[in-house]
Structures are given as structure tokens and as C-alpha cells.
Subunit: 120 residues, 2 copies
DNA sequence: GAGACATATGCCCGTCAAGGCATACGTCGA
DNA sequence: TCGACGTATGCCTTGACGGGCATATGTCTC
């Protein structure tokens, strides 16, 4: 059915919360249910998704299942953002000045533009 | 309409590709259209989303618009993954055990698992 | 001004995730 | 064995997103 990428997995706020909780310590499902304020089936489904993605794994403990984090798949995410770090490190506010750097061809006599701010 | 979080924005593969392209240099829309193999309206819509999120901005250049990256919002993403880095650095050996990540038949023996190694 | 070109918007549709609900499955205690 | 508890799964509905198409808006050239 739904094979989600790591990016899509983490795009879901509740799933991020689950991961954030498991980052601290292992938790049983009912524990997560209480923390998240979601219905138990919903939580179980999120856990299913996370499990299929290899982000968490469950240790059977009696009638409960203790979920724990496996952060490894998040490296993909980290690897993707990495090249962008230098960008926000550099132009934060000389962003406007960066306009001077010509993309390439197309000589413009018009000079450079004004900001196309969105309306909303 | 949908006000998407940075996570959701980046969850879309085509939007990531757009950002990856803009990370290198500024691009006109038609340029992106050619690279992505998407229809122009689709690209414009993605750009709209990215603009609303402050991830890109457009400089008017004649009848074209040169889009450029603004990586700053990605810091949120980076900030979120940050705490997880120590995890994949730490549990590397534990990882091997869970690579299979299949329905593991953990032999049941009880004992209260309190954040330590309970069984062995 | 007319028409070509570049981009944006509106509308429609197929798809699919997220959650609610009921229920099945599995485990413990008596 | 039975019943309570904890968790997973299946079905269904709703809503939103991505993309295709047609078209509006804007800008350039002649």
C-alpha cells in the first residue's frame, strides 16, 4: 500500500512527536496514546508506518509492545539538508545584494528587479 | 488553502528537485520546466507553494521570472534532525541486530523493562 | 496595436493519507 | 477456561494535494 519516503514519514506532525518521544526513552503504545491525545488505532497506524520505514522497532513485553527509536533512516534527511547549510550561513541579509551576481547570459539593461513579494 | 509546514513542502519530490536546482543557480520557470519534465502549470504551482513558504523568491526579468533559493526556512528541518544525529552515531551496533526488522519472534520472558537492557 | 512568448490561475479529477469506529488478535490474571 | 487488558487491523469517510487542461495576465518585438 502506501510506501512513503522518509521525507513523507516525517512530514506528519504526530509522527514527529512520536519520534521525539521515543528519542528520549522507550515507550509502550498506551503511553504514546496518552501523550499524543490521539485514539489508539491512529497511534498504532502511525507506528506501523514508522516500523515499515525502519524508524522504530517494537520489543514485545507481555501484552505490551515497547517501541524504540531507530534514527538511522533520518540520515537521508540530514544528508539532503546538508548542502543547504552553507546557504543560510552566508547570505542572510545581503541576500538582496546577491542580486548583483549575474546568473549568466542575457544582458539586462533594465537592471534588476524589485522584489516580487506575494500578496497574501 | 493549504498552508504547509516546511516539512510538508519538502516532502514533495519535485519540490526538492526544484530546490536542488535553485541551490546551484537562479533559474527561470521555463528552465525548470525543461529540467523537471513537468508541465509548466505544475511547476508554477510548486513555485507558488515554495514562495509562500519563503523558500524561494522571484526576480522579474522581462517576461521571465528568475527564481532563487532562500534556504533559511530549512533551518527548522535541520534543527529538528539535529538531536537525532547522536542516535545514529551511538546505536550503530544495535542497528545490525535490527536490520532484518521483520516480525521478530522475541522469546517472551518477562521482567520489567525500565530503560535498561532487560533481557539478554 | 497585434501577436508571440513566459508565467500564473482557475477548474476538474484521480488518488491517497489520516482518523474514527468496530473488531480481531494476543496476553495476562484469577 | 474466562474475561480484562493492550495492541493491531479492516472498513469507511473526508479532505487535500498533485497534475492536466484551458485560460487569464503580463511583457516583449515588430
Amino acid at each position: 500500500m502506501g510506501v512513503l519516503s522518509t521525507f513523507e514519514i516525517v512530514a506528519e506532525p504526530n509522527r514527529r512527536r512520536i519520534l521525539d518521544l521515543l528519542r528520549v526513552e522507550r515507550r509502550a503504545v498506551g503511553d504514546l496514546v496518552a501523550e499524543l491525545g490521539l485514539a489508539q488505532p491512529a497511534v498504532s497506524k502511525h507506528l506501523r508506518v514508522l516500523r515499515d520505514a525502519g524508524l522504530v522497532s517494537a520489543d514485545v513485553d507481555g501484552q505490551r509492545r515497547l517501541y524504540r527509536l531507530n534514527a538511522e533512516p533520518l540520515r537521508e534527511l540530514d544528508a539532503w539538508v546538508a548542502p543547504y547549510r552553507r546557504h543560510w550561513a552566508k547570505h542572510l541579509d545581503d541576500l538582496e545584494r546577491h542580486l548583483a551576481t549575474m546568473p549568466d547570459e542575457t544582458p539586462r539593461e533594465h537592471g534588476v528587479p524589485q522584489r516580487g513579494r506575494t500578496k497574501r
